[in-house]
């Protein structure tokens, strides 16, 4: 099914994909890198279409065109704040495609063995390939396709649920059916049993049942994870979609699928690791859902939250020389990034130093805030990472917290019993004055009281972030 030409094309495509990922190390090179990815994909698809492997090329092209139209709509219509949802739902498509391809492989195996017994002729390149395999190779092929289907199914339902939670269509709180992780464990055990049965030749029904178990695991696992952990979940699903592609690559004997699957899989794994580290949590505890209980009573928070109106914030900003803005998910929800950017432009025009401090897990997707700020045309060189800016807070006149909570919670450093103890946080309370733009007095996603709001130098600027900042803009010209 592969001739020298397709293999050569695959090598070129693989190299382009690697360059594409490597190019994301900087904003400028990234613009080139995305083209490498596009060209690589085009080469891979074209080579497969015109190579000897494919049949029904005409239909395929029509389908691709159709997919292109849908994809174009999605990509151009999506709001930048909805990025997490889009990424999640796209993962689900990869997962489902992997499941289908896996099913096909199983069907083909059955078809081939039936044809062999009947002595019929085979058509279809993949069927011919399968027909050439030895029984051992067929066995391995089955292991691979089971893995591909299983991972693909988990990715599919998991991504759908993650999409639902991010889009607000499913309650984002951690929820589980009675039985909790026992159900997951039971489903996993069932999967193993079914896999053994399937490999033992029990027939295709075991594969279907196994898929059902995997779909359940994906659903239940992600339902049990709270909204604040979504960055980890999304990158984990990203990783899974890669591993699913790699497993399918094995079963189809296609090296390009293996290479790309492995690249995507390891990329997602590293992202998950970075996100977990930023929250100071073990990967397992995130996946198992819910915050681990601390070893004792949490510190009681004393004092009261003092409110301030737009006039107060405006006059403080007038006097400040250095300002750091800490955006969070609340800014994304309120679509306030344009107002934030406008405020930044006006303050910068007056010669004030305005910078942004981005916590690694701010928002619901790795790098979410950067994308939103970039959309609003905030120059990326004033948008800094936590480690770059954390030491500058003591020299800062005003810190503005917009819709973030846990990532600026001093309890992570002060209170060893806090559920987020040890999580690296932005030390905004060291600034001379802190304004917190927040909808109400509620707690963050982790449900923890934030002592920052009670500090002497903190003033609460209540209200929807977009509206509050709009009022502020009326007062600062």
């Amino acid at each position: 099914m592969e001739n020298a030409f397709t293999i050569a094309a695959y090598v070129v495509a693989a190299i382009l994909f690697i360059l594409s990922l490597g190019g994301l190390s900087g904003q400028e090179s990234a613009k080139r890198a995305v083209w490498y990815g596009i060209v690589g994909m085009a080469i891979a698809v074209l080579a497969t279409l015109i190579g000897p492997g494919a049949g029904l090329s005409g239909a395929s092209i029509v389908l691709i065109a159709l997919g292109a139209a849908v994809g174009y709509q999605l990509a151009t219509k999506v709001q930048m704040t909805q990025m997490p949802e889009l990424v999640a739902i796209m993962h689900s498509l990869v997962g489902l495609a992997a499941v289908f391809v896996g099913f096909n492989a199983d069907l083909t195996i059955n078809m081939v063995s039936a044809a062999k017994e009947a002595g019929d002729a085979l058509d279809g390149t993949f069927a011919l390939l399968v027909a050439k395999k030895t029984p051992v190779e067929i066995g391995i092929l089955r292991v691979e396709l089971v893995l591909g289907v299983w991972i693909g199914a988990v990715t599919f339902t998991g991504s759908v649920i993650a999409y639902g939670k991010l889009a607000g269509k499913v309650n984002s709180a951690a929820k589980q059916l009675p039985g909790g992780h026992m159900l997951n464990a039971a489903a996993a055990a069932l999967s193993v049993v079914l896999m053994i049965a399937y490999l033992g030749g029990a027939g295709s029904w075991t594969l279907l049942l196994l898929t059902a178990a995997a779909l359940f695991i994906g659903y239940h696992l992600i339902m049990g994870i709270g909204g604040a952990d979504m960055p980890v979940v999304v990158s984990m699903l990203n990783s899974y979609s890669g591993w699913a592609a790699a497993a399918i690559g094995f079963s189809l004997g296609n090296d390009l699928l293996i290479v790309v699957g492995a690249l995507v899989g390891s990329s997602g794994a590293i992202l998950s690791y970075i996100m977990c580290k930023a929250m100071n949590r073990a990967f397992v505890s995130v996946i198992l859902g819910g915050f681990g209980g601390g070893g004792g009573e949490q510190m009681a928070v004393e004092g009261e939250q003092i409110a301030i109106d737009a006039d107060g914030v405006a006059s403080a900003l007038e006097e400040a020389d250095s300002i750091i803005i800490i955006p969070g998910y609340g800014m994304a929800v309120a679509q306030a990034q344009q107002n934030v950017a406008e405020l930044t432009r006006r303050l910068r025009a007056r010669g004030k130093e305005v910078r942004f401090a981005i916590h690694p897990v701010a928002g619901r997707l790795p790098g979410h805030m950067n994308v939103l700020l970039a959309e609003a045309k905030v120059p990326y060189d004033i948008v800094l990472e936590m480690d770059e800016i954390n030491e500058d807070f003591p020299d800062t006149d005003v810190a503005i917290v917009i819709g973030s909570n846990d990532i600026v919670n001093p309890a992570a450093q002060d209170d060893p019993n806090s559920p987020i103890a040890g999580m690296p946080v932005l030390e905004c309370w060291k600034a001379k004055q802190v304004f917190v733009s927040k909808r109400g007095k509620g707690t963050g996603y982790s449900g923890i009281e934030n002592p920052l709001f009670f500090k002497d130098n903190t003033r609460m600027f209540y209200g929807d972030a977009k509206a509050s900042l709009g009022e502020l803009l009326n007062r600062i010209s």
Partner: protein
């Protein structure tokens, strides 16, 4: 109980430790007040004013010392006064306990309790009774006024019809309380003011008062003012040389120099040497506020004003506060009153000499027949200790050793990982009947994972969202699987493959387009 204030017997001392106002406040604490006739006259408070405030005016010092239980005065007591102390009496006064061992012994022998006003600890709570600071404030102000009195020109620059007048240039050495007061006075008179202090952390205070801080070109471990209770301490030789060189450089430009550098219980450091005095313009004025302890300036004569050969006036008065007796008496009497408030917790006119109180304990130098000087260090640090941020400098050997250790640890962890990886690979290959075709694919897989890890670590944090979109798009490479399978004779297979092709292509186009959209937004300022 009765509080009495005698007339100061030191020649030229015009201050008084009780004013009519402070007497009224003391009476509210439950005390009766006495004053020696004529004690306040020099400070502008006549006997009649005291009488009006309800103070008993007595004729002689003897009557006062015998009648009062608590004696409040200004200057350190002389022998004749110490002789009048007795058990049960309390003396509140400047005492100079560090340089007055003889007087301290006499006070102890008398059995009286003695509170030395200069020993009030420098903590926030005790600021209201810190007489050194209130007197230093006056001295600083007065130093500028004295300088102006002897300086034949304007402080402020003016452009008049009769010509242009340049502003005076004033240098204040030592930015303690007196120094800061001098800086404030000088800038408000319009002079260009420079200030120097060995503690660079006061530069901010200096600049807040409107003066320019004179920095040295000198790198040394800066001293921590907190360790010495906010006072300067002795400097190293190199530092001193750098300091003198700087002074030498700016001396010819300065019209007025006010030196306030004092180190507790030591002779004042000589900072303004003869050659600097000689370098100054004729008509310039130097005010040496450290004259009491020998002076910062070479050529200072204590309590006198001298004019050098090149026409520079050096003022060595030690009685600046006394020269503003009305003001200084008011402030000092208030300090005393605050001390009495702390000594009278019940406001019932009875002294409770609480030796567990940091402030009272610190200021008490003789208590019930015992010398209680020097006091133990206060429990509360005067100034929050500066954060020691700089990690210890490593010697080259230590650095080297650390690098070697880090290198070894890295090597070890890498070798371990490689060994584990190799063992796993070997284990897979040893599975009976493992076909070579699988192993080929497996190698490709392992290498790709390896490349993935190498590449992804370099991705910028801010590009994580584009990274996810790109990986999402390229994971749709699974479309190849569907494309291969679609050419089958089985209808179900064709259907599933077609669905796979459709979904994957949505993903490809959507993923790449959205990535491009995002990346186009990242802009540099």
């Amino acid at each position: 109980m009765k509080i009495g204030t005698p007339k100061e017997i030191e020649a030229g001392e015009a201050r008084v430790a009780m004013t009519p106002d402070s007497a009224r406040a003391l009476q509210k604490l439950g005390y009766d007040c006495m004053i020696e006739s004529g004690a306040g006259v020099a400070a502008g408070f006549a006997d009649a004013l005291y009488a009006e405030a309800g103070v008993e005016v007595v004729d002689s010092a003897e009557a006062l010392w015998s009648g009062a239980d608590i004696i409040a005065k200004v200057r350190e007591p002389q022998d004749s006064e110490l002789a009048r102390l007795a058990t049960g009496k309390t003396l509140i006064s400047f005492f100079n306990p560090g340089g007055n061992a003889e007087g301290l012994e006499k006070a102890r022998a008398s059995g009286a309790n003695v509170i030395a006003m200069e020993m009030v600890p420098r903590i926030s709570r005790a600021q209201k009774m810190d007489a050194l600071s209130s007197m230093a404030n006056i001295a600083g102000y007065r130093a500028v006024i004295e300088a102006g009195n002897n300086y034949g020109r304007f402080f402020t620059g003016q452009i008049t019809a009769a010509g242009k007048v340049p502003p005076a240039k004033v240098l204040v050495v030592g930015a303690g309380v007196a120094g800061l007061a001098a800086i404030g006075t000088s800038t408000s008179l319009g002079a260009i003011t420079y200030a120097f202090d060995v503690r660079p952390e006061v530069a901010e205070q200096v600049e807040s008062m409107g003066a320019e801080f004179v920095y040295l070109d000198f790198e040394e471990e800066t001293q921590d003012g907190a360790a010495t209770g906010g006072y300067a301490s002795v400097q190293s030789e190199e530092f001193r040389n750098a300091q003198l060189a700087k002074f030498r450089e700016i001396a010819p430009d300065m019209d007025i120099v006010i030196t306030t550098a004092l180190i507790p219980n030591r002779p004042a450091p000589k900072l303004w040497l003869e050659d600097m005095v000689a370098a100054m313009k004729p008509g310039s004025v130097i005010v040496d506020l450290a004259a009491q302890q020998g002076g910062n300036v070479e050529g200072t004569v204590k309590d006198e004003k001298v004019v050098t050969d090149n026409g520079v006036t050096i003022i060595g008065y030690t009685d600046f506060a006394s020269r503003m007796a009305a003001q200084s008496s008011t402030l000092y009497a208030t300090n005393i009153r605050h001390m009495m408030t702390d000594l009278t917790p019940e406001k019932d006119g009875q002294v409770v000499h609480n030796m567990d109180d940091d402030v009272i304990r610190g200021a008490t130098v003789a208590y019930q027949g015992e010398i209680t000087f020097p006091p133990p260090p206060p429990k509360v640090q005067a100034i929050a200790a500066q954060k020691k941020e700089k990690p210890k400098e490593l010697t080259p050997e230590e650095k080297r050793a650390r690098e070697v250790a880090a290198f070894k640890a890295e090597t070890r962890s890498q070798v371990t990982l490689i060994a584990i990886g190799a063992a796993l690979l070997l284990a897979v290959s040893l599975i009976p009947g493992m076909p070579a075709s699988f192993m080929q694919h497996f190698i490709v897989f392992v290498l790709s994972v390896f490349i993935g890890f190498q590449v992804i670590w370099n991705v910028a944090h801010s590009l994580h969202t584009p990274l996810m979109a790109v990986t999402n798009a390229i994971s749709s490479i699974i479309i190849l699987g569907a494309l291969i399978q679609i050419g089958s004779s089985n209808g179900l297979i064709i259907f599933l493959s077609a669905a796979g092709v459709l979904m994957a292509s949505i993903n490809i186009f959507g993923g790449f387009l959205v990535t491009r959209r995002m990346l186009a937004m990242f802009q540099k300022s």
